[in-house]
């Protein structure tokens, strides 16, 4: 009989706590905005943080309260933006496709190694030694810190350089943070030009380090009609915001370090 009293006491305490909590949760229920739940249903739930909020829940709450702009969700893409717009009862705004791009094309045949690195096999490790083991101290190290960071399996190392599969890329920016050389940036638009080099040395020195290097010759700047290309520190950069994707800079580049990225064709295929 000794066992009965403890069982009754624990059960009673549990019951009181349980019933009390259920009553409290009904009596003191805070009305949750139904919109938030609905919008949350439209979002992919990857919690990648590409939108700049703490996760899909945070973005849904910000959307419902009108703080956030629609179309910031990269993994969800245009479909997600349209769904959210339907819930919010708004017009579908312009959705900008995004993808991460590696700003280096220093493949093994175009550049050389400076020394034989045998330490910890991470980009972060190599970059501590003279900025990397490549002749070009700005370039891709190729040990794949970004590959490990990518949740979508979109990055691979091809011929010593990280290459991002635009089709799979959700533009979550994990790789951007992982690259110790800061080579990865997010480009956006339907079709954009992008400079695949980050070397800030003068033309001759850059060319010596890598045959694919940007020499800062300004020809792309002159060719661009929308003022999207600028050269600073001997390096051309394309502003995705202004780029129309006409491809004129791509045609005139003597080093062939500008590439055209057709985000629309790649991501819809």
């Amino acid at each position: 009989m000794n066992i009965i009293i403890p069982i009754i006491i624990v059960a009673a305490i549990g019951l009181i706590a349980g019933v009390g909590l259920s009553i409290a949760s009904i009596v003191m229920a805070v009305p949750v905005d139904e919109k938030v739940t609905e919008i949350r249903g439209c979002l992919p739930g990857a919690n990648c943080g590409a939108c700049g909020y703490s996760g899909c829940d945070g973005y849904a709450a910000a959307l419902a309260s009108g703080e956030a702009a629609n179309g910031l969700c990269s993994p969800g893409g245009a479909k997600c933006a349209a769904d959210v717009a339907a819930v919010l009862g708004e017009e579908v705004g312009e959705f900008k496709r995004r993808a991460a791009v590696v700003h280096c094309d220093g493949t093994c045949d175009k550049t050389e190694k400076l020394y034989d690195y045998r330490g910890i096999q991470t980009c972060a490790g190599v970059s501590l030694m003279f900025g990397g083991d490549g002749k070009c101290s700005y370039g891709c190290i190729g040990l794949g810190d970004c590959v490990k960071a990518c949740q979508y399996g979109a990055i691979s190392i091809c011929n010593g350089v990280a290459v991002i599969n635009t089709k799979r890329c959700a533009a979550c920016s994990e790789c951007v943070a992982a690259c110790p050389k800061g080579l990865i940036r997010i480009v956006y638009g339907d079709k954009v030009a992008d400079v695949s080099c980050s070397n800030k040395d003068k033309g001759a020195a850059a060319k010596k380090a890598c045959k694919n290097a940007c020499i800062g010759c300004m020809r792309c700047v002159k060719a661009c009609e929308s003022g999207a290309v600028t050269v600073s520190n001997n390096l051309a950069t394309v502003d995705s915001e202004k780029c129309t994707g006409c491809g004129k800079c791509f045609e005139v580049c003597p080093s062939k370090c500008i590439r055209m990225i057709d985000l629309k064709a790649l991501q819809e295929a």
Binding site: I5, P6, I9, V10, I13, G14, A17, G18, G20, L21, A24, S25, M28, A29, V30, I120, G125
Partner: protein, 197 residues
């Protein structure tokens, strides 16, 4: 009165929950990266410790001791504290949303924190002048334990911000150097050991 002051000081310094008793190490290492989150977490811990003691002490004295069920202490206390924290969360969400937002993430985290459970259990093993703690003394002990937790968190948040910027050897970067720093801070608190005697 003297007993209360002794209990209070002892709970903060000599018997510091984190650095002398090694309870609540998880939040101590997990939430001490930034000073403001460390303070937020500590505030939640102080609050819950006080509340938990306020409820568990009468349960022990008026229910468990009466039926001689001391062995149910742990499970009953966990049950009560967990339910209590949930209730507090619901109440805060309804009536003080601003406090809920600032404590919100930390409250569920410390529901079954060992420091919170520890303080409620240790209230009954601690003695002062050869007798157990009274209700008021137990509350003071909990308040002291919570403040001691806050002290440890704040000190360690400061230490940690220095450690993060220091040039630690590659193999020790991250958690290892943090644990080493924590042990050194803990050794520092051994200096208070003679205070109670």
């Amino acid at each position: 009165m003297a007993a209360i002051i002794t209990i209070f000081i002892a709970a903060i310094l000599t018997d510091n929950f984190v650095l002398s008793k090694f309870l609540g190490i998880c939040p101590f290492l997990g939430v001490s990266k930034k000073l403001n989150t460390a303070v937020g977490m500590s505030a939640a811990v102080i609050f819950v410790m006080l509340l938990a003691t306020a409820v568990t002490y009468p349960i022990q004295v008026h229910i468990l001791d009466v039926y001689d069920l001391g062995y149910l202490q742990t499970i009953v206390f966990i049950l009560v504290i967990a339910a209590l924290v949930q209730l507090v969360e619901i109440v805060l969400k309804k009536y003080i949303p601003s406090l809920y937002k600032s404590l919100g993430i930390y409250l569920p985290l410390i529901t079954t924190n060992c420091a919170v459970l520890g303080v409620t259990l240790l209230n009954f093993t601690k003695t002062v002048d050869g007798r157990g703690l009274t209700y008021i003394e137990a509350l003071v002990n909990s308040l002291g334990a919570g403040l001691g937790f806050m002290l440890a968190m704040v000190i360690f948040a400061g230490v940690r911000s220095r450690v993060e910027q220091s040039d630690a050897p590659e193999a020790l970067k991250g958690l290892p150097i943090t644990l080493i720093a924590a042990s050194i801070v803990s050794v520092g608190f051994l200096g208070f050991a003679g205070l109670g005697a």
